[in-house]
Amino acid sequence: MKQLEALVHQARETLPPATATTSQMARNGINASATMTEQPVQWHAKGTAITPAALSDDETEVARVMQICNACRYCEGFCAVFPAMTRRLEFGKADINYLANLCHNCGACLHACQYAPPHEFAVNVPQAMAKVRVQTYSDYAWPSALGKLYKKNGLTLSIAAAGALALFLVLTVAITGGLLHEPLAGNFYAIFPHNTLALMFGLVFVFAIIALGIGVTRFWRDVSPGTASGAAVAEATHDALRLKYLDGGHGKGCNNADDAFTLLRRRFHHLTFYGFMLCFAATSVATLYHYAFGWEAPYPYFSLPVLLGTVGGIGLLIGPAGLLWLNLRRHPLQGDAAQKPMDRGFIALLFLTSLTGLLLLALRETSAMGLFLAIHLGVVMALFLTLPYGKFAHGIYRCASLLKWSIEKRQPDNLKLGSD
């Protein structure tokens, strides 16, 4: 508690006295006493001065909606957003970014809301949160200039995909003298030397990790979650890996086309995520085989890398196809329509990655191997290039928010709202 008070004092002192009017000071006094009873929230200065109230339009909308929700609270059982909300009386920028990324866009609170449009309060939590989420990714992006890529993500993805495809097709032609060649018995490295590929993809992947790592670190500092206990980490990991908050709170699932619940989104997401992880594992095992044991591709159909890749690839076909189908059928009020190109572009790239990978496996002993290898590598390169500046970021920021919630819920809640 002493530490909290110190932080509150610090927060008060960081207010520029020259610009703060008496009423602003008073308001922030309330703000400070409110946060004192829960946990410290640092107001992060982006740009020039520390102005706690400098909310964007989308953030202001979340603050407005949360004020209404906090007075109602009917949705408390659906997910973590609402219990996290009840620990606050006012919603500053950091709180809003945190809550927005905690929201899984399950839609339960939209369909259950007595204040949803056409009510004049026009409460739409999933949409308000989605709009802030994409802004979070862009605000926290590293390097900052590339944050803009989120805003026109359909275009970003198209350019990345076209460019990467062109690159590998041209390279194929340059190396083999044409797109078709004599069958090479599945030996990819006859076309692209292993070290070249490892270097190209390794660099891009490492860049993606660094860029996302820096972004999420900035985000983490802003929401100042306190120290993570083992239990909190375990819970957050569980909630992320099980997609706990896509179960609707009652286990029947989330909403998609209408007010009915479905577990399909959770299941398709599992297929996508675990399929992706299996494909990643296949690549990792193959890399290990190559460098540690000197076993070079092509690997037999029943070898570990091919089995992992095949199973993962099938998951990564069905999962994204299902997610796209759900995305196309989603209720128009659920989520932010402007982000559909980003969502669908990412889903399409994942689908194409597994599709081209499986085709390559099937055709690796034919004369079209070079062509399909080039296409597959082009797609994977596009996926890697856009990882830090597309929908993939949601997983990173969502996990950070889940961990914050797991930490926060273990802290005492000193608001005494017992009068109701």
Binding site: I30, S33, Q67, A71, C72, L89, H250, G418, D420
Partner: protein
């Protein structure tokens, strides 16, 4: 011809439709509202008061029949019907499995509502989620549903239902359940019911409606005019003090102001008029609507200081804020001198002991009228906040008189194919006052009874018809 026609689209109507359909009847449900506004007042509810003799999933400890009955007796001041009340109470202990079967999810009490953890089962997502679940289940079972279908009159034949009319359209059915709500959104009727006061004001003109804009009481009026037996006083309603900035209709739960017991309340003349600390707020919030309705201009102002912040459920709109009490008076448009006299008298009268908002503490006033008997602390810590209050009507109590068959009665004779449920008859059990979640208990119990009876009536007619044909 359809077997059972259900008029209305809230909890009671849906319970009736589902029960009738389960009993094998063909059912048509007519909801006056468009789909987006369906569900009547049920979309604003959040729980069901439940009797239980032992802990039951989300309900802790026990809430026996007798205790439930005593609670009801107390809040209604005896204006209830013990037989029907006990029927509702017993039904509340067994209906939840059926509700679950139709998709309703329950959850432990919401934060800030722990005081009803023992007595009330909360709907996950609130009443609109319940309504959605019932509509989905009804559709899946083959109940026909029509939206934008406001029935304006019935065709009756000597107490028997013949047909319902929507404008020129005539809809016949073998039996009918009326569950179309009260008249809280009928401004003219409210005006007439509340009349003109000694100041020449029409108090109801200043009321806000927390409930659905579609409860205009058209069918209730029709039935009264048709000679159905009625019960209840038209000026009785669930009336709470809500934020004066709330929307005219459908303000729902979030417009309540929960800081009354933490400060003082003054009227337009800047004078206090009632003991703000009489009892716990959940036990008193339902009287403040009426108290406010009695004040000049039907407005009151809840005044608190910084000490109250974080101790009550956050209101939907921010309060008017000031660094001094005179500034607050000016911002609220109150007479500054009178406001300061009232506040100074109150502050000077406070005898502060050990403040504890979780019990009836010993902080009280001495020598000021009206007294504040608990949680009385001087308002002396800036910033100060003021919230303007208006009476907010949730639902009205005037209804049709019934017995335990839910049959509509004419000259004390029950109709054999016309039944009533929900707000249109809740006044039989709830003549005045309120206790959380009991409206849904009444609606569920009588909706289920009415649906079952209506199905039985329709199926009996079908059988008689078939026998006649066979003979």
């Amino acid at each position: 011809m359809i077997d059972v026609l259900v008029i209305g689209g809230g909890n009671a109507a849906l319970c009736a439709a589902l029960m009738a359909r389960e009993a094998g009847a063909s059912v048509l449900l007519l909801e006056a509202a468009p789909k987006a506004w369906r569900g009547g007042n049920s979309q604003h509810t959040r729980n069901l008061r439940c009797m239980h003799d032992a802990p039951q999933d989300v309900l802790v400890e026990a809430y026996p029949e007798e205790e439930f009955w005593q609670d009801l007796l107390k809040v209604t001041g005896g204006i209830t019907n013990e037989h029907l009340a006990r029927l509702v109470i017993r039904e509340s202990s067994t209906c939840r499995d059926w509700m679950r079967k139709h998709g309703v999810n329950f959850q432990p009490p919401l934060s800030g509502a722990l005081h009803v953890a023992r007595t009330n089962a909360f709907f996950m997502g609130g009443g609109k989620a319940l309504v959605n679940a019932y509509y989905r289940s009804a559709e899946a079972l083959g109940v026909q549903i029509r939206y934008d279908a406001p029935v304006d009159s019935l065709e009756l034949d000597n107490g028997r239902f013949v047909a319902a009319r929507i404008g020129d359209e005539r809809i016949t059915a073998r039996s009918c359940v009326l569950a179309a709500g009260g008249f809280e959104s009928n401004r003219e009727w409210l005006r007439e019911a509340w009349g003109q006061n000694e100041r020449g004001e029409w108090p109801a003109d200043n009321f806000l409606i927390r409930g659905t804009r579609f409860n205009t009481g058209v069918l209730l009026k029709f039935m009264i005019d048709a000679g159905a037996d009625t019960i209840g006083d038209p000026s009785q309603s669930h009336c709470v003090a809500i934020d004066a900035r709330a929307p005219l209709y459908d303000g729902g739960i979030c417009t309540r102001i929960d800081c009354v017991s933490l400060g003082v309340v003054v009227n337009r003349e800047a004078q206090r008029f009632y003991d703000e600390g009489e009892d716990f707020w959940p036990k008193r919030y339902a009287i403040w609507g009426r108290l406010t309705a009695m004040q000049p201009g039907q407005i009151a102002y809840s005044i608190i200081d910084a000490k109250a912040i974080g101790r009550f459920m956050p209101p939907v709109f921010p309060g008017v804020q000031a660094d001094t009490l005179p500034e607050l008076a000016r911002k609220l448009g109150l007479d500054e001198a009178q406001f300061m006299r009232t506040l100074s008298d109150y502050n000077a009268a406070c005898r502060v002991g050990t403040f504890d908002h979780t019990k009836l503490d010993d902080c009280h006033t001495e020598g000021v009228q009206p007294a504040k008997t608990h949680w009385a602390r001087p308002l002396d810590t800036a910033p100060y906040y003021g919230y303007a209050l208006r009476p907010g009507i949730t639902f009205t109590y005037l209804g049709l008189k019934v017995d335990d068959t839910a049959a509509v009665r004419f000259n004390d004779q029950p109709s054999d194919n016309l039944f009533v449920a929900g707000e249109m008859m809740a006044g039989n059990v709830l003549g005045k006052g309120y206790t959380a979640g009991v409206g849904m208990s009444i609606g569920t119990a009588f909706g289920r009874i009415a649906g079952t009876r209506a199905a039985a009536s329709a199926l009996a007619q079908r059988n008689t018809g078939a026998q006649r044909e066979a003979a």
